[in-house]
């Protein structure tokens, strides 16, 4: 389990997180959502041991991340968004070079994933487009079979078919007990993939809940008009999606983009709705 306790982080005088508490349970694909510059990458870096909290703690299975002990490092793999790559390396070489340090790498899985993502692992990175590089790295990251996999903006640079491939490959290949955290601001790209959902804003965790929990608390109404009592309304094909507090309205289909915007625009309401409830696991 990944645990952030009273976690604060600042870049010199810029405060990014201020005493947040957050837990990522094992065996789920978490969506870490937030606007640009809100601190998603910072959080992933802190979890993977690249940044030291300015206060509080960040632990992964009781290992303090920043200690970067081998026992911790072999459990986790972080795939950043802007990864500089050695020009003359191929994904094959890249995978072979790193896989020897991890306990359960699977080369056949790497080749299969590369094929499913339509990338050639024997081609040099410098000869690939940004999207192809990204897909090759996703194949590498997944085939290392680490317990925790952190993906920072994995769909950036992918074309529409590649985004579908990514969602399919991830959904089909997630291992039992493996925890994946996908950070993104492009919420549509991961809508069908993530559960639970974590939304951060203003140095705080505004939401950390499963889809079931969210639809228990919020009702997503699809209709021809905007409702005056809606927390948030937005145009969708054929009308509007209205986000309402679910006071016995029943089940509804979550609209991630509407949820995201609701959380950003109605922060206090959402915070009260989800945080003044003991059944939520994050506070």
């Amino acid at each position: 389990m990944i645990s952030l306790k009273d976690f604060s982080f600042s870049y010199r005088k810029t405060k990014v997180f201020d005493g947040i508490n957050l837990q990522f349970e094992k065996g789920a694909i978490y969506g870490l959502l937030g606007e640009n510059g809100v601190g998603k990458t910072t959080m992933l870096k802190a979890i993977s041991g690249l940044l030291r909290p300015t206060a509080g703690s960040c632990t992964v299975d009781d290992h303090r991340s920043f200690d970067r002990k081998p026992e911790f490092l072999e459990k986790i793999f972080f795939l950043p968004d802007d990864l500089p790559l050695p020009d003359d390396a191929t994904p094959q070489r890249f995978f072979r070079e790193f896989s020897v340090f991890y306990p359960h790498p699977d080369y056949q899985r790497f080749e299969r994933l590369s094929a499913e993502l339509h990338t050639d692992p024997s081609r040099k990175f410098k000869e690939m487009s940004l999207g192809q590089q990204k897909k090759a790295l996703i194949a590498c990251a997944m085939a290392l079979n680490t317990e925790y996999l952190l993906l920072d903006e994995p769909t950036n640079g992918l074309d529409i078919p590649s985004k579908s491939d990514f969602r399919r490959v991830l959904a089909e290949n997630v291992k039992n007990g493996q925890t994946i955290i996908i950070s993104t601001h492009q919420v549509k790209d991961v809508e069908t993939l993530i559960n639970p959902i974590v939304i951060i804003s203003n140095s705080q965790v505004m939401l950390n809940a499963t889809v079931e929990r969210i639809t228990e608390k919020l009702y997503f109404q699809y209709g021809p008009e905007q409702l005056p009592n809606a927390l948030y309304s937005d145009m969708v094909a054929g009308g509007y999606v209205n986000v309402l507090i679910n006071n016995g309205l029943g089940e509804s289909q979550l609209n991630l983009e509407a949820l995201f915007n609701t959380v950003l625009q109605r922060q206090e309401t959402i915070y009260d709705l989800f945080h003044n409830d003991n059944s939520n696991n994050n506070q």
């Binding site: 870096k45 993977s48 041991g49 081998p70 490092l73 972080f78 500089p84 020897v100």
Partner: protein, 248 residues
């Protein structure tokens, strides 16, 4: 699991760093090994042309082995200075350094591997390369390299032991400085270090003029030797510490 040092894991770090050393430092090692060729060419072309006109008996001239040896040592000194910033250029860089930091090995294993390649392998590669090049040049029927370098009579002289120990301490210091600044500076690591060293040298020069007695004391071989070793070990410790506490 031993989180401090595991020999099998260390071997993997060595193997990974070997590939980096080979691909990033190989060309530099080759160029430094060829430094002795410049001496050979200089005497063959430049001095020969001019001296031969003035002194026809110049053909019997031979370049002192000590001069060849000094050239080789210069190449080794340069290799000590450039190896850290060449092989481990990205070890402290945001982005590029992520993988180095996240490689599942301990800080000690990574540091020892860095020490091994920067302080042992890189200079040895240049030494070996230079000796091979020097030998090949000696075997050529043209040029002024006469006598193999290992037959140099000065090797057996007493002062040579003192000279070589101070030189090794100096090299260790050089390497320690550049290893440390490699973890300190993000860009233009070699140039920034060289500029800082020039500044420190200037300050020392001023101090020497102001307090000559102090430098008379430091100037003795043993004191100088001990000071160089102490500074080197302190810098090595801080290099390890910075690797451990580096944020990316």
């Amino acid at each position: 699991m031993n989180n401090t040092f595991d020999f099998n894991r260390f071997k993997k770090v060595l193997a990974r760093d070997y590939r980096a050393t080979y691909s990033r430092f190989g060309l530099a090692a080759l160029i430094l090994s060829l430094l002795v060729v410049t001496v050979w060419i200089f005497y063959l072309v430049w001095d020969n042309t001019f001296h031969y006109i003035a002194e026809p008996d110049w053909v019997d001239y031979q370049i002192a082995i000590g001069e060849r040896f000094s050239t080789i040592l210069s190449g080794i000194a340069i290799s000590f200075a450039i190896a850290p910033a060449t092989i481990y250029k990205s070890c402290n860089l945001k982005g590029r350094g992520n993988y180095y930091a996240m490689l599942p090995a301990s800080h000690l294993e990574k540091y020892l591997s860095m020490f091994f390649y920067c302080c042992i392998v890189a200079p040895l590669a240049v030494l070996l390369g230079s000796f091979i090049v020097d030998t090949l040049l000696t075997l050529l029927p043209i040029g002024y390299f006469k006598g193999f370098i290992w037959n140099w009579s000065d090797f057996s002289e007493d002062y040579f032991v003192e000279y070589i120990s101070s030189f090794i301490a100096f090299l260790f210091l050089t390497s320690s400085i550049f290893m440390f600044t490699n973890t300190l500076f993000k860009r233009a690591k070699f140039i920034k270090t060289a500029l800082w060293l020039m500044l420190i040298g200037f300050v020392l020069l001023i101090t020497d003029i102001a307090f000559p007695a102090l430098f008379d004391f430091i100037g003795s071989f043993l004191v100088k030797f001990i000071i160089m070793l102490i500074i080197s070990f302190v810098l090595q410790f801080f290099t390890y510490r910075r690797l451990k506490r580096m944020q990316y």
